[in-house]
Subunit: 315 residues, 2 copies
């Protein structure tokens, strides 16, 4: 059985993973999920990326937006607003809140996030093994310019409240140095037949996972080939605001630019057909490269992308 | 301005308080609320009696049942059930959950329950000052007979799950010895012009309040007269299961029986017209007594009860 290990952010990764499952339904797939955009809201521990993967693969996601629960309602949020509770810029749906209530309760009872995630997945049966990158707390903060200097704000505040429009000077992973890979993460990398980087935000989704001490090294040394898919098409992110995040780390928002961030670990890289002229540039980094359609327009197109990624690096 | 201090449980007390506010709209009313039936559900701190008073006086209660929020929905509860979360015998509504989320978050941040209650009342403007009986944790547990001995269960489990049908051998107030009266409670008793015991459950609503060390003494020594209204009419509780609770403490479920529990503090006691023959029995305890209609059939009837209570003990 083909053992695939992937590193995943939120919406883009979740959609891609659905295609991957469709492309190789018999594969044994482990998803190492980003937790650095986790946030505590109204005392509830929210894990946006883990939930997006879980809901999407478990059939509970709101398809129209790619995150959150389908047929969602907002009675709790309306009431919180009536109480004047802050923050107001992040709205939690009622169905989604149940997930966070259970997570918060289990964490308070002493369960690590990995055990909580496993328990939540009991219900959703996502068809993959979903592992948080770490059971330790890591938070992506964005250093932004303010009139009176700079300020570090939580990633979600930058992303959701300010739509990444506040120029980011720096991205800081608070707690990363003290974090350890979650249970099973290193084993999943060591034992994989192939490692896949979905078209996720390279800076704030894949970046934090690789930054957990030990994970990037394990990926670099893994016997398995590592293949990734560019989240940048024709110089712009397909969705999200990867360009703003790339700007913060001084990397060009191009298909080849992103490949460069991962040059030490990549064996293969897919760029979109419209970026065919990037192939030579990527290959110059010693990375096999192909240009194929990378728009996840539907399940078939996404499965084809996944198959192309596997084909690029496996015999 | 007439200063009234009342001790209150849940539904019965809340309805009565609405009548009291209607009867003496200019009075300065302090409500000392029972917190011994508070319970932590799904990690959320629920204060049923405080919320019932707050919602009822603040116009947010579901009138048909006398507790919970009006126009309630249950998306979170449905999801918690889908996750298999326990307990299943206590269902929290979505709008109600927002209150518990805020309370839980504020308690976790270090605010005492009294400060939390004040903050929640900022929204509801109940027209009274609502004070928890204590900022300490007190829990009413009920010792019930089981096949293999006795078991102490949380009051809510006995009440909500078992509808008080498991015979109660004893009622235990866990934590009561270490509890102190909440901020303002003793002052409200000391400075009252009249102290009113609404027709609440004498064992599990009024009982725990009086059992907080210092409160019963303060009521007994208060300059203000103390008047109560019987929650028992014609040998049965008007609502709730006060008879089952009275049985647990070996007190007859009669209007005079309940007066006997409070004989050391009562100056006056109202019984229902149908219990007119209890008047002599109550007066024999040295308590002024009158028989008047005690069914809270509508706002006018309830206001008349409140006025009759005040008239019995004030010139």
């Amino acid at each position: 059985m083909l053992k695939i290990t992937t590193l995943a952010g939120g919406v883009g990764a979740a959609r891609f993973l659905r295609g991957l499952v469709r492309a190789v339904p018999d594969a044994d797939i482990t998803v190492v999920g980003n937790i650095a955009d986790d946030i505590t809201l109204h005392g509830l521990h929210v894990s946006p990326d883990l939930d997006t993967v879980m809901y999407t693969l478990g059939g509970g996601v709101e398809e129209s937006q790619g995150w959150g629960r389908s047929e969602e309602t907002f009675a709790v949020a309306d009431e919180l607003a009536a109480y004047g509770a802050e923050p107001r810029w992040f709205t939690l749906g009622d169905r989604d809140i149940a997930t966070h209530i259970i997570r918060t309760q289990m964490l308070a009872a002493g369960y690590p996030l990995s055990a909580v995630t496993e328990a939540l997945c009991e219900r959703w049966q996502p068809g993959v093994r979903l592992l948080p990158m770490s059971d330790d707390r890591v938070e992506t903060h964005v250093v932004v310019a303010r009139e009176d200097g700079t300020e570090a704000i939580h990633f979600q505040q930058w992303w959701v409240r300010w739509h990444a429009e506040l120029p980011a000077e720096r991205i800081v992973l608070v707690g990363i140095d003290a974090a350890s890979p979650g249970p099973g993460v290193i084993e999943a990398i060591d034992n994989a037949d192939v490692i896949v980087l979905p078209p996720s935000n390279p800076v704030v989704s894949i970046g934090p996972i690789l930054a957990v001490p030990g994970i990037r090294d394990a990926v670099a040394k893994a016997q398995a080939p590592v293949v990734g898919l560019s989240p940048i098409i024709a110089g712009a992110p397909v969705r999200g605001m990867a360009d703003a995040a790339l700007r913060a780390i001084g990397v060009p928002a191009t298909a080849a630019g992103v490949a460069g961030i991962f040059a030490d670990i990549l064996d293969g890289w897919l760029v979109d057909s419209s970026d065919a002229d990037a192939v030579t540039e990527v290959e110059a980094l010693g990375i096999a490269c192909r240009a194929v359609p990378l728009l996840m327009t539907d399940a078939d197109a996404t499965a084809a992308m996944a198959r192309a990624a596997l084909d690029l690096v496996t015999p």
